[in-house]
Symmetry: C2
Amino acid sequence: MSNNFADRLTDGIRSKGAPIAVGLDPQYGRLPVAIREDKEFNDELDTEAAIDAIFEFSTKVLRIIAPHVPAVKMNIAFFEKYYSEGIEAYYSLIEEADNLGLEVIGDVKRADIPSSNEAYAQAHLANPEYTDMEDLLTPDAITLNPYFGIEALNPFVKICREQGKGIFVVVRSSNPEASAIQEIVDAEGKKVYERIAEQVASIADDAELVGVNGYSSVGAVVGASDAEAASRLREIMPKSIFLVPGYGAQGGGADAIKACFKDGAGAIVTASRSIIYAYERDEYKEASSWEQAVEQAVADMKTQINQMINAK
Amino acid sequence: MSNNFADRLTDGIRSKGAPIAVGLDPQYGRLPVAIREDKEFNDELDTEAAIDAIFEFSTKVLRIIAPHVPAVKMNIAFFEKYYSEGIEAYYSLIEEADNLGLEVIGDVKRADIPSSNEAYAQAHLANPEYTDMEDLLTPDAITLNPYFGIEALNPFVKICREQGKGIFVVVRSSNPEASAIQEIVDAEGKKVYERIAEQVASIADDAELVGVNGYSSVGAVVGASDAEAASRLREIMPKSIFLVPGYGAQGGGADAIKACFKDGAGAIVTASRSIIYAYERDEYKEASSWEQAVEQAVADMKTQINQMINAK
């Protein structure tokens, strides 16, 4: 297996025919009744019962999706809410996902000044340096926030270079509240997210980070809410893989998703709630089980995304 | 005790005569030899030994500083690097600090889209809603990142209102790399950090958040690297308490620190490494113990900050 994250991810996308990362944002209240009722304490307010149920659900979801998609995006917020035990479950699920051959993207959105980023890089991206934690696995890539400056993210970039890991810097997020900062326009008419994109492009274009497939292990989060913005960002960051939220629950449009790709490659679309809670959706009410609903939703998303990319 | 965070913090600053929050960024390699040698495994690469030593050091530091300062700022990055066990230590230390009467600021720098922010608010700011975690304590306030938009931070603001907690939004950070984004100038000549400050001011000025002392539980992180910038931000955000990094290791100037205050109030300066590792500093080489060096460094900082604030 390649020691370049961008190569591993693009190879995975190609071999599965699916530029899709399923997002794992497990919430106890939305788990299938079958799983909640099976627990000794059917009680959302008991952390042990909740984590138990979330772990069982998540491992099943991973097994369902692994044959169909190359990657899973795990949102750490939904594990942090269970404190240290939630974090234990988070790292255990990374191991499960890795065993299934999935690339794991830790959706951690971290950033601080460089000395703190070193500690965060150790926590979330670097291979453990502790002798008693040798077996613990960290994600293959993580998401990062640009507000402390792209250069402040160097401790993470260093791990990408040295350990074949990846990062996705949030350039343009998919939530409407973000425009108040990300769309501020500078004196030359450039938006803040374009300025960030230029900086991401400049660190991404580095021989030690760019793989044989032509993509860099320094990628970008680009929301699929505006086709024009996506095309512009695609031009500014030619070597970065786009991690594209905004499909499904967040409502991304087909044109905007297509615009994140370059000749059908270089992007991976994420969907979280619309897939993992597919059994709540009307179109999957007829499924024979919640598992079948999830599997069908992944298959349908794969078809839809490929249609979008290939549309004239 | 007041159920408004801003009141609790400003009362604490007044009663201790110290607008200071000591930053706890524990790093095993810098701990006093006396503590490291005392451990069963004197081994930085053994998480159990490292956390043990960090916990012992941190509880001692908390006891030393508690009589002198109103607050401690705990940087979660240095706990996350020890995975779930580090997080367990983080929450235990919050309890220790609370028992000592300190306000606890969790330096977590979180932010994401609103649905994820709800989970982060549950993890880091809200009182636990789990029946088996009733005794766990979360911080009194946390730091947040503005890049997803100030309005996206509403789940945290809601907890401030309902549970008497606080937030500090990073407006202008103290690291030089940040200027590439925070100092982008818009078409009207305003910098990005000023635009963020305006948005922070608009949510801070809310009757449910402003305490009897006139300050809001929605504060701002304002680095002390530029007096002019600090004065301008002081004007834009009259009701926000400024959490001011950049003293000590990060080298903040006296003028810039003074400019963060309004009539000697409304700000709290943080110092981390220069205090907790005071025993490494030449001026404290004569101290009879590492504990005495730390205590003297806090006392000296208190004198210096008060001189800065009161300087003509």
